[in-house]
């Protein structure tokens, strides 16, 4: 059940009406839990057992950790949680990748080994909910969070349907306190949530899905296209992935908001970042902050020599790449971002005493950051290394043996989108709909939805981040 489907709208209306119709907080949480499980079951009911298993184990671990125990015993309990959650990921997501890679390596060394493949379907959202449950057990272990008394609260936190399948990755410390307090409808920012949902819907169904055929066409056989087409193909993907993912996050945050829960901002206009560090503070914020708090800092962060810091940065980005997908192209994507972050750190250190011409530096920084992000998206999207390098050669060096031209018409649409994005970034048109009377807003919303639906692409594309 995708957010842009009609049946999700019906599902949510039912959830919403019954949720606010119930008076007691406990009843509301039970209702939310049942609906969340039903939502997940609509994808594949067989994998409900995985979410339940992860929740039960982390609940028990949390309960044990809240007791006074020896440090070694506490560490073992944490390892149980880590082992379970990362084990699920390892089996369902990474086993075949590692088996194949090991077999390839052994083949290079002259040993013929046949890698046994597991025939498993990747459970939707597994990378997201395992990271959420990990954040719970790690925070309880560190003493930053008290273990929840009620299994229901933890179950709702893990399975909460707005963010279950594609984020944002919600921290237990942010969400669990909200579950303890009864929600009040008068505190819900209805207009803001409705507008956010509409914007997310437009980004996903009207922009991202409309670019998908062009992107698929280019990336399926890049060697047949001209160098100019490589720019159009890569830029189209840059737009597609941002609109797809941020659109989904917007809709998730809006749905949660309408139910009275606040989720963290996940995208903050990342393409306007003037350096790569800033980009990572604006792109998939919930993941980058998770990696920072649960991987980079425990590894030592920047509390050591320069080389030590860079090693930690690189490991974090490599694993961040691997999180996105079980393929070497994703690891390369992570590595490229790691290299860029390291270079930026060095550059900032060198340029610290020289702060002249800030506007020129920011403009150059914006262009270079965007250019580098586009280059890395090539590895993220390409089907294999061969086509990735073909596209890179075409994109960076403008060398291509292909003759098919995608045409430059899409540049007009890029220009419009950049303008709209800039307007949103500057906050233009973000005030008036908050000030008009409620009945005017209802009229405006009705007209906006009727005008938006014709732009919905009917070549259906599930969210890019679903198989992560």
């Amino acid at each position: 059940m995708i957010f842009t489907e009609f049946r999700f709208i019906i599902f949510f209306i039912i959830v919403f009406c019954l949720y606010w119709g119930l008076q007691k907080n406990w009843y509301r949480k039970v209702w939310l839990l049942l609906c969340s499980y039903a939502f997940y079951a609509a994808w594949d009911w067989r994998f409900l057992s995985l979410i339940l298993a992860s929740t039960i184990i982390d609940y028990l671990v949390g309960q044990m950790l809240s007791k006074p125990l020896l440090q070694s015993y506490r560490r073992n309990l944490l390892l149980v949680s880590l082992g379970t959650n990362l084990g699920l990921l390892a089996v369902f997501k990474y086993y075949n990748f590692f088996a194949d890679s090991a077999a390839s390596l052994l083949h290079l060394l002259g040993l013929e080994v046949h890698a046994h493949q597991l025939e498993v379907i990747l459970p939707v959202g597994i990378s997201f909910y395992t990271f959420q449950t990990l954040s719970y057990s790690i925070d309880v272990y560190r003493g930053k969070l008290k273990a929840v008394e009620s299994f229901l609260d933890l179950a709702v936190y893990v399975a909460f349907f707005p963010q279950l399948v594609a984020g944002p990755i919600v921290r237990a410390a942010d969400f669990l306190p909200q579950l303890l307090k009864p929600r009040n409808f008068s505190q819900v920012k209805v207009r803001y949530c409705l507008m956010l949902f509409l914007i997310g819907f437009i980004k996903k169904a009207c922009i991202s899905d409309n670019f998908a055929p062009l992107v698929d066409r280019y990336f399926s056989s890049p060697e047949t296209y001209t160098a100019l087409s490589s720019w159009l193909g890569v830029l189209s993907y840059t737009v597609q992935i941002y609109c797809d993912f941020s659109g989904y996050s917007d809709m998730a945050i809006a749905c949660a908001g309408l139910l009275g829960y606040e989720l963290c901002l996940n995208f903050d206009f990342p393409y306007f970042a003037t350096n790569i560090s800033s980009f990572w503070r604006r792109w998939h914020i919930s993941l980058s902050s998770w990696l920072r708090d649960y991987l980079y800092i425990p590894l030592g962060g920047n509390r050591g020599s320069k080389l030590f810091t860079y090693k930690n940065l690189m490991v974090t980005m490599l694993l961040g790449g691997l999180w996105h997908g079980a393929a070497w192209t994703f690891i390369i994507w992570g590595a490229l971002h790691g290299v860029a972050l390291i270079l930026h750190r060095e550059w900032s250190r060198i340029m610290a005493p020289h702060q002249q011409l800030p506007l020129l530096r920011e403009s150059l920084g914006l262009f270079l950051t965007f250019y580098w992000v586009c280059v890395t998206w090539i590895f993220f999207r390409a089907v294999d290394f061969e086509s990735a390098f073909t596209i890179v050669k075409s994109f960076i060096f403008l060398e291509s043996s292909g003759s098919i031209d995608l045409g430059i018409r899409s540049l007009w649409i890029f220009a419009l989108l950049v303008l709209a994005h800039w307007a949103a970034y500057r906050g233009w048109f973000s005030e008036w709909w908050q000030r008009i009377p409620a009945w005017s807003f209802a009229v405006f919303y009705g007209l906006a939805v009727s005008a938006m639906l014709p732009f919905v692409s009917t070549s259906y594309t599930p969210f890019i981040y679903f198989q992560f």
Binding site: F6, R217, P454, V456, S459
Partner: protein, 367 residues
């Protein structure tokens, strides 16, 4: 004390929210309606794989054809109009046929395209071969495709819903099937995808046609027949399908053997199918053409169609789903996969069809 319903705050708020919802729905409906008036859908949309090309072709050449083949991929990939026409010409019959086979076609959708073709008023159309089709439910993954949205007009969906109501499905299945038709109808009514088509054309230009139909579905002879082997050459999907058939040949042979020995229970024609079949027959006869129903060489006995024929819903029925009568059509050397013939099998089938048609014409005194 009299309880004042309207003075209760919570009730007040509820009715206010209800009012805003009603206002939203009213402006949404009004906006949708206005867009439909100002920007009507094209009669034949350009972006439905196979369907667009075939409808466009037929619209341009409708007065050339006196025979039409309507069906699923078992028509699209099996009936060679050129060979059929030549076989009929050898027997002294002048036939000019077109293959309107559409992959994954189901009965209600076939009825829609039939109406579409007949509404074009083809002046010379005399014979309409309709392959019997099963299935009444739109698959979930297809609910928002251009093809499903195109044919789900309100009036037509209402007719399909009527048919489902009279069916012998249990209540849950009826609701599921009705839902599967309701969604594309709603998308049709709310103009979903109309502007997206224009954006896609703008973005992709000439590449869009290749995306919709990588190979022309009209086939090399532009008669609507395109063999699986023609697509087999270029698309991995079809190569894998044929290989899968070869890897599971024993299960296919077992199924053919069981088909030979299977007795056909005389079930009553399913009421919903009877309704659609009746309407199709009426529509064809209304323009002075003759409907002829076909059962392709499939692995199903289709007892309800046999019954429909015996009950008079289907006036003429040509059966080819009998391995004892047509062993060649079931031989694995004539098959692309379980459900489809290869080129050689299609040639044989077309010739058998022509032969059967000649017998029919002779029996009915048609010269």
């Amino acid at each position: 004390m009299k309880y004042s319903f309207y003075k209760h705050k919570r009730t007040n708020r509820f009715f206010i929210y209800l009012f805003y919802c009603a206002l939203f729905l009213a402006t949404f409906s009004g906006g949708t309606f206005l867009i439909r008036i100002l920007f009507p859908r094209p009669d034949i949309p350009p972006d439905i794989p196979v369907v667009s090309a075939k409808l466009r072709h037929f619209a341009r050449h409708k007065d050339n054809y006196n025979t039409l083949f309507l069906g699923s991929s078992r028509t699209y990939r099996h009936v060679m109009p050129d060979l059929f026409d030549r076989s009929m010409a050898k027997e002294g019959y002048e036939i000019n046929s077109f293959n309107l086979g559409i992959p994954a076609l189901q009965l209600p959708e076939a009825h829609f395209y039939l109406n579409k073709i007949l509404a074009m008023e083809p002046t010379k159309l005399e014979w309409v071969f309709v392959e019997y089709l099963d299935g009444f439910t739109v698959r979930t993954e297809n609910l928002s495709t251009t093809r499903e949205i195109y044919w789900h007009r309100t009036k037509f969906t209402f007719f399909v819903t009527q048919a489902i109501f009279v069916s012998d499905y249990n209540l849950l299945l009826k609701l599921q099937v009705i839902y599967s038709h309701f969604i594309p109808t709603l998308y049709h009514m709310t103009n979903v995808g109309e502007a997206s088509r224009i954006i896609q054309e703008f973005l992709l230009g000439d590449h869009r046609e290749k995306l919709i139909d990588p190979i022309s579905p009209l086939g090399p002879l532009e008669d609507g027949f395109l063999s699986l082997e023609e697509e087999h050459k270029t698309q991995d999907y079809y190569q894998n399908r044929h290989q899968n058939f070869l890897d599971n040949i024993q299960s296919y042979k077992d199924k053919v053997n069981s088909l030979e020995t299977q007795t056909v229970p005389l079930e009553t024609t399913k009421p919903h199918k009877a309704l659609v079949l009746e309407e199709m027959v009426e529509s064809i006869e209304a323009i002075g053409a003759t409907p002829l129903f076909l059962l392709a060489p499939s692995l199903d006995k289709q007892p309800d169609l046999i019954r429909a024929h015996s009950e008079g819903y289907v006036p003429t029925l040509f059966l080819f789903n009998d391995p004892t009568k047509f062993p060649n059509l079931y031989d694995e050397s004539r098959r692309f996969d379980r459900d489809h013939l290869n080129d050689e099998g299609s040639r044989e089938y077309t010739k058998l069809l022509a032969q059967r048609f000649v017998e029919y014409l002779a029996q009915n005194g048609v010269k």
